[in-house]
Every structure is written in C-alpha cells, then in structure tokens.
Amino acid sequence: MARDPGKKMRCRMIFVMLVMTVFCMGVLIYQLSVLQITDGQKYQQQAAAQQMRSVTINADRGTIYDRNGKPLATSATVWNVILVPAYIEDDEVEDIANGLAEILGVDKEEVVKRCANEKRYYELIKTKVEEETAQAVLALAERLNTRGITLEEDTKRYYPYGDLAAQVLGFTGSENKGAYGLEAYYEEVLAGTPGRKVSAQNAMGTDLDFQYKELYEAKKGNSLVLTIDETVQHYLEKHLETAVIEHNVKNGAAGIIMNANTGEVLAMATAPDFDPNNPLALGDPKKQAQLETMEKGSEEYNNFLRQAQYDQWRNKVISDPYEPGSVFKIVTAATALENGVVSMYDTFECTGSTVVSGNRFGCWKAAGHGVQTFTQAIENSCNPAFIAIGARIGGADFYEAFERYGLAEPTGIDLPGEADNAGLVQSYNNLTKEGGVELASTSFGQTFKVSALQLCSAVCASVNGGTLYQPYVVKQVLDPEGNVLSTTRPVAKRQVVSEETSETVQYLTEMVVKEGSGRNAAIPGYRIGGKTGTSEKIDLLIQTGRNENILSFAGIAPADDPQIVCLIMLDEPTLENAFGSTIAAPVVGAVLSEVLPYLGIDPEYTDEEMANMDITVGNYVGMVPHDAQSALTQKTLKARIVGDGGTVVAQVPSQGEDIPRGGTVVLYTDQTSQQDLVVVPGVVGLGGAEANRTIVNAGLNIRIKGVDSELPGAVAVRQSPAEGESVPPGTIITVDFLDLTTDG
C-alpha cells in the first residue's frame, strides 16, 4: 500500500492551499487597499489630530511711531508661566507652590490644586510676566531641580507715553488683537503672521523632538508712522485736560490740530482719557471716585464701570457730532462770499433779535450790535446778521454747500468709529422749506450736528485756498526692517471755494482775533485767525430740560498763510459766564503759543508788540548803584535803590526775569533792608490800567498774560502770588487777563 498522499488528498490539499493563499489573503489585501488607499483619509486625519501638537508662536505686533519716529505703541516679549503636573513629584508640590506664590503673587492653594492633575501637561499659572519675573521663575525651577515649571513666550503691548493719544491709538485686547482705535483699524497691518510649531507628540503628550518638527517662523507685523506729532499732541492734551478741570467740563472735551494744506492730523485728543497700558482702569478720577461709592460687583457697579469704560475709549473728535454754533459762521461767510450774495461793504443791522416766520432769534448781545459791516458782523459773531446772510444764500445753495464741505458724510479718516451724521444735518427739504426757520438756525450753527473732525476739515478748506482734504492719521507703513511699504498722499477731495474767497476768509478770521470775539486767542508775534462758538444743546434741553452748552474755538495760524487749524470743543462746562470766547479761545491760544514755535513758525513782532514786550533783567549785583541805575535806564527800566551801602548786594527781580517796559528793579546795597516786605494787593476783577497801577504803586512789577491788558474789555482773572502774601519789593506779580465782553 502506497504511503504517499493519494490523489484525493492532493486535491484537498491544493484546495486548502488555494483557499488560504488566494481567497483569505485576497480578502486581507482588499481590506488593506480600502484602509490604506481608498478610504484612508478620515483615519489619517484623526491620527494626525492626536499625534500632532500645534503651538502658536505669537507674532510681534508692529510699532506705532509718531511722525518723528517716537514709539507710541511697541511690543515686547513677555512670558507665560506653565505648570506640567505630570512631571511634578508629590514632595515637590509644597516648594513649587510656595515659590510661585512668592514670585508671582498667585494663590498658593490654587497652585497646589493645579499640581494635583497628574495627567496634565499644561496648567497656565500666570500670563504675561516680564523678563525679570520670568528669570526668577526659571531660577526657582533650577533650584528645585524640577521639570514641572516651564515658560512660554508671548508678547505684550506697551504704550511708552501712557495716556498720550489714547483714543487714537486704541489698545489691544485678548490675544493681542487690536480692540479700539488704530490698533483695531490697522489690525491686519500691525498683527503680523503668527508662527506655528508643529511637533509630533506621543500618547502621553510629550514632544517627540526628533521628528516631525516643523517651525513656521512668526512674521512680525508692519509698523505705522503717524501724522501725529507727540509734542504737539502733548501740548494739546495738556491744555485740554487743564481746561476740563478748570471749567468743570462735565461731558468731556475734544481737540484736533490739522495741517490745513494736507489733511494730516498733527494731534487729536479727547479728555478725560485713559492709559491704554491698562484700558479697563478708569482714567477719570471723578468717575473712579463715583465708582468706589458703589458696591463692588453689584449690577449698578458693573453697569457704571462698563459705561465709563466705553465713554473713555470713545474718540470724541470723530464719534460725537455736536452743534457747532458760531464756529460754523466761517462756512456760512465763505459760502455767502463764494456765491456772491454778500460783499465786504454790505451792512447788517442788529437790534438784539430778529424774527423769522414768527420765531424769535436773539443775539448773544441783547442790546444789539447796531449797524455793522460784513466784517464787523463776523467779528461780533452777530446772529441776526448771519440769519440775513443765510437767507441771501438760500436753502438750496446752503444745502449744496453742506455737501460740498463734506459736512453731511463721514470724512473717511483711517480710524474706526467715525460717526455718520447724515441723519443729523438739515435735509434739503428742511432747508428749502417755506419760512426759512431751519435755514435761519443753520446759518449760525444750530439745529444740526457735525463732528469736530468734519468741522475742522471744513475750516481748513475755507482758509487754505479752498481745497477740502481728507483727514488722515497714518503717514507711512513700514515693514519690520523699517523699509517704507507705502506712504499716504494727501487726498484733495474737491475745491469748495475759490482762492479769492479763501483769502477773504483768512482776513475775516484774523479780524475776529484782532478786533472781535476771538481776542483771547491772540498771541504776540503771530497772526492768528479764528472763530468762537457757543452752542446750546437744544436736544438736551428739549429732552431733559437741562440747559447746557458746548464751547468751541477754531484757531487758524498763521492767518495770512494758514499752516495749521486747531479746533477744540468743551462739552458742558460749568461757568456762569460761559462763552466760547472766554473759555475755549484762551485754550487754543495757549496751545498755539507752544505749538507754533515748536513747528518752526517763528514770531514776527509788530512795532506795537515790540513796544509792549517785556525786558529781561540783567545782573547788577557787584555794581555801584549809579552804574546799575544807568544800565537799567538804558533798558527803559526804573531802578529803586534801598539801603546804605556803596555796592549792590542783591536785586529783585533777579537776573533773567522778564518785566514790562518801565518796570522797577529794586537794588539793595546792604543786607538789613532786604527784610522789608510788601503785601501783594488783589487785582482780580480790575481792568488792565487799574491792575497795573495797583501793583506798581505797591512797589511790585506786573507781568501780563492772556489778552492785551489795554483792551477795553480786558479783566484780570487770576494772579500769582495771591493777594495778601508778603513778598520783597520788585517781585513780579503774574496777572492773567481775559476779554469778557464778547462772544458768539
């Protein structure tokens, strides 16, 4: 019997082999092809999702520079402190918690609690700590010899000048994203591209550093160079903030300085402001005090805080349209001239009020201005005269002027939050309505609202030769290496008036400051143009019965060749005698007196101004009294010699001080007589001549600030040193004068 496999056995064997190799393995290969080729995508992605850790590397935000390259907003590297509980042994917890609590000021118990999550690899303990703190944390980790504390790089925004231009710059919010102002508007330019570190991790969450590591470098954001000048901005803010405090301005103040010939914004300020380094803190101490009276965490507290925060972040210059009042008369006058409906020789009579279709409009001067020329009407800021001028223009043309001046649409400035006031100006139908009541009120700047920015642009166009420019704040965009990527060119929107009209308006505004209601803005050595404004908040009066005003002033300098226009507005100041002329004009005057020399516009004094100029006192100590007296006489100063010595041993005022022509320098020739003191007399409320006499008679010198003290309306409003103080003879008493007689 054959022992080898029989035929049947062989057949069965071959059958089994074929089943195994062809059928079974065929099924396996089919399944593999499904998993690996046709349907693999889904599992591949899920696998990648669990294997890959993607860590975002924040890109440094670009810097915001002022026009001279001073950094207004910069980014710096900070560190986030991370715990890795998985690497922390139980006996380390106590030391780590104590150390971190000490360095970071975090709650120790909280750290202990976080350490307990032993499976976790990432517990964020504190964000954005500075280099120094980060070093301390590293030192702690080294000292404890633990892998359980690590640092993660992050960036933080710094605003080196604190609250400077806060509402313009805005600030960054969570994840370093621009939240307000330029930071928000130019987010895409500034943000840069975040980098990414993609690395493989094992199932325990540990990086597999040796494979699949891809680093996409973060790309730093581009930088902005602003048209804003830090120094100019500083001057504007300083005076605006002082004005808010001085006049207890309840609803804040706005100010803007524009290059009249380009639309560049040199300064833009809202007061009170805040510190973008800590935007949530209230910058207004009054509101902070009010907040502190409320129960922390209560609904009232939270609502008040939120509202106050929104208020302080608001850029009033662009976001809060207001009734411009008499400043708008520049536009009315320019339009009347351009349309040829008035000539310089036309006269207008003011009886103190005028009636339009049964509505009585009063002039600010109840007694009336009498018969005035066109120039005088604007100097006096006479409402009845301007109602007449408005009527001559006519509703249709007036409406057209509104549009031409860009007063019925946003200016298009490169800032977020610009108000669209299209619904806040009188419509064509209203202006052309029979009776002309709306036309009348519009002529002198009431019953419609424009933003300070719109008005400032319109004033610029009226005096710069007639071109309306689009205002802008970003001058250049720079790449991270500092190369210029783009430069903003001034955009001339249209010609709103002819050059001749513009020149006439220059003259008119200069006359306002020289002879009229703008006198408080005058600066010796400069030709300043301007227009005051006092507007009633009519909507507020109708809604609440409260009678509040907005005081404003637009200053133009130099008046004969306008370079800059400075407009400020104070919203709801408290003062019995509240006029734009007495409150807003001096602020603009003070701003311009600092800004103009800074901008390289040098004063040119007239002979009259030269005559009124102060004399700088020289050094007379060590001279014999008569030589000293002779030297003083040469300088048109008087000498008063006190004492029995033969040599001048002391002098008041001392060397380098300025006193008016004809002032007295007291020269002491011995020590004892220096102890004689005089009591400072009070001059507040007196006119220029009387104040001068009072002080000179007391043996003191006067230094006059503010308006020309010889003006009939000039009144001393402040003096230093104060009345009743004892000072040496010859001491300079500084007296501020204001012209309180006018307004508009």
Partner: protein, 381 residues
C-alpha cells in the same frame, strides 16, 4: 518503527538525506529578518518608555531567533519520523501543562502563561504542535479507514476534545479556534468524510443555542460584537486598540511613512511589538510593503504545501501541511484582526510578534517542515 527500518538498511544516514527545500528555507530567513527589523522598529519607543531601553525587546528576540535558526537547522537534519515516538509524551505533557496553566496567576483575567522564572510560555503553543503531530500520525495510520466514524472521527475527537475544553477554561478563544481549524482542515485533507462534519456542525449549533439562552453570554458577545463593528463606541476603552490600529494602517497610505517613521508606535498603539505589530508594518511600509509581506507568506504557504505534496509519506505530508496551515492561519487571522475584518482576539503574527519561546518553537517547526522536504527526493514508500 520507520526509523528502525531505515537504520536496519545499514545505509549511512547522511546518504539518506536529500537536500532541503532551499526556497522554503530562504523564505523563512527573509521573513524572519523582516520580522525582526519591524518588531524592533515597532517596539523601541515602547521599550524606551517602559523599560528605559529601546533594545529591551529586540535583544531577547534576537537571542531566541539565533537559537531558533540553529534549532531549525538541527531539526531539519533529523528524521521527522522520529517525532512519532514523542506523541504519547507530548500528549501527556500538553494535558498536564494545560491543567497547570489554570492554576497560574491571572494575567488580564485569563490563565494562558506558565512562568518558569527564566522563561514564560503558553501551553497552547505546545498544544498546537501536539495536535498537528498527533493528527498527522493518526491520518497516516488510519488513512484507508478515514471515512469511518471509528477511525476518521473518534480518535481525533478523543485528542482534540479535552484540549479544547481546557483551552476554553483558560479561557483562550483564539487558540481554541486556531487548534480546531487546524484539526478540522487536517481531518478534511486526511480523508474524513464530509458527512461527519454535519454532526460537528450540529454540536457547534447546539453550543451556540445554549449560549443564546444565557443572557450573560449574549450580553458579553453582543458588546464584543458591537465594539468590533464600531470601535468608536468606546474610543478610550474597548475600541481603543482597534482604532489605534486603523489609524496606523491608514496613516501608511500607499507607500508608507518610511521604516522607523511610525507615529502610532509612540504609545498610541498598546504593546505595538505584540499582536498589532503588523499595524506598524502597514504604517511604515504602506500598502505596498504590507502586500509584499503577505505575498511572502503566500509563497511560504505555497512552498509548505508543495513540500507536503511531494512528501515521502503521508505522515510527512500531513505534518508539513499541518504546520504550514498553522503558520498560514495565524498570519491570516492576525492580519484580519489588525484590519478589523475579525474581532480582536489575541493571535500573534508569526515571525513578527515579540515572544521568544513562541519564535523558538516556530523555527523548530519550520525545521520539521525542512526535514520533511529533505526526504521528498528519496524513494517513496
């Protein structure tokens, strides 16, 4: 008695030996080499993390591979008929070990391993060989009477029954299935009438019917089945291993991530050196590499069957076929589990999965096949 007879011929042993089937030998060595490389690649991250030594598994595996290859060669020179003498001893040892293992400490709720301190092994590995050897012997002896119940079924059932029962007690389902499959196929090829498989089928159905009345078993089976059909029902628990395996296989794509480049082996895939090593192979070598390896195994099976077909006698033929089927079925079942064709059981991948004693035994068994091949050129008896 065959051995005696040959010796009685007085011919020198060397002259009796033909040459081994070199293609089978070469295939074994190629697959073993690839298996070792891939096991190392799959295991080093796991070894590094849990044993602080990337070479933890590969050094042991290499050691056993070297001994195993030596054993394979030595066995290939031996006369496989000689193995018949061991059948009673092996059967006894298998039963004893299968009983002993039930008293071994539980590992993952089952008793599968015997730990002798210096070495651990699964008695079920021995049981597989015992069954193949015993069945080969029974078939060769009972060849002409295989159609009868007495010779074609009874002796086979007497051997298989207790072994299966003991395996079920461990419990070790995959080994049970594998041993039954090997046994049935050998009986089928050996000539057992197909009609006898009908009552076997009835017994199986009766068993299933019993199981169907037991709610506990139903619940257990249905959850197992549910997790097999959709492992994402419990992605962190019961479905975890399957999901991670599918991730690995799919990540490989057509050409793979490159050798050593698996990501899933970084602690995602549990014990990547064991039953799921082929998932890492798929991930690193891609569809192309996986198919290549499957084809190598197909060739190995083909060569194994060729040896069986050409064997000098039925014993050798059945022995070679049984061992080939054992390797082939393990490969097929393992890949089927890894690719989610079958539910997760616990069948290792021959030549690839980590396990020193298993590898040693496997190579020795390959030596038996080679020994069979060596005599195929001799005159048939």
């Amino acid at each position: 008695m065959f051995g005696r007879k040959i010796k009685n011929d007085g011919q020198p042993i060397k002259a009796e030996r033909g040459t081994v089937d070199y293609s089978f030998l070469v295939l074994v060595l190629i697959i073993l080499t690839i298996g070792l490389v891939m096991m190392f690649s799959a295991s080093y991250a796991y070894a590094y993390y849990y044993f602080d030594n990337s070479f933890h598994f590969i050094t042991r595996q290499l050691f056993f591979a070297v001994i195993g290859v030596a054993a394979m060669l030595v066995v290939s020179f031996a006369d496989y008929h000689w193995l018949r003498k061991f059948i009673p001893v092996l059967l006894a040892a298998t039963f004893v070990l299968l009983v002993v293992v039930l008293f071994m400490p539980e590992i993952n709720y089952v008793h599968r391993w015997i730990n002798l301190g210096f070495i651990t092994f699964q008695p079920s590995e021995i049981a597989k060989f015992t069954i193949v050897l015993t069945y080969a012997h029974l078939i060769s002896v009972n060849y002409s009477k295989m159609k009868t119940f007495k010779y074609g079924i009874l002796p086979f059932g007497v051997v298989l029954g207790p072994i299966v029962m003991l395996l079920v007690l461990e419990p070790h389902l995959s080994a049970t299935v594998l041993i039954c499959a090997i046994g049935f196929i050998m009986m089928y090829v050996g000539g057992t009438s197909l009609k006898w498989f009908v009552p076997v089928g009835i017994v199986v159905l009766a068993f299933l019917a019993y199981a169907a009345t037991n709610e506990e078993i139903i619940a257990y089976a249905s959850t197992r089945l549910a997790y097999w059909r959709d492992p994402f029902l419990d992605p962190q628990g019961a479905g975890y291993q399957t999901i991670q395996s599918l991730y690995a296989i799919s990540s490989g794509g057509l050409l793979g991530l490159g050798i050593g480049q698996s990501r899933q082996k970084y602690l995602y895939l549990p014990e990547p050196q064991n039953d799921f090593v082929f998932a890492v192979v798929c991930e690193e070598l891609g569809f192309v590499g996986a198919v290549f390896i499957i084809l190598l195994f197909a060739l190995l099976i083909w060569r194994g069957f060729a040896i069986a077909l050409k064997a000098r006698d039925r014993f050798g033929s059945m022995l070679a076929m049984g061992l080939t089927i054992q390797v082939g079925l393990q490969v097929i079942l393992n890949i089927a589990v890894v690719t989610k064709i079958l539910p997760n059981t616990g069948i290792s991948m021959p030549f690839f999965s980590y396990g020193g004693t298993a590898l040693l035994m496997l190579l020795a068994q390959m030596g038996v096949i080679l020994s069979v091949s060596r005599q195929s050129s001799l005159p048939k008896e």
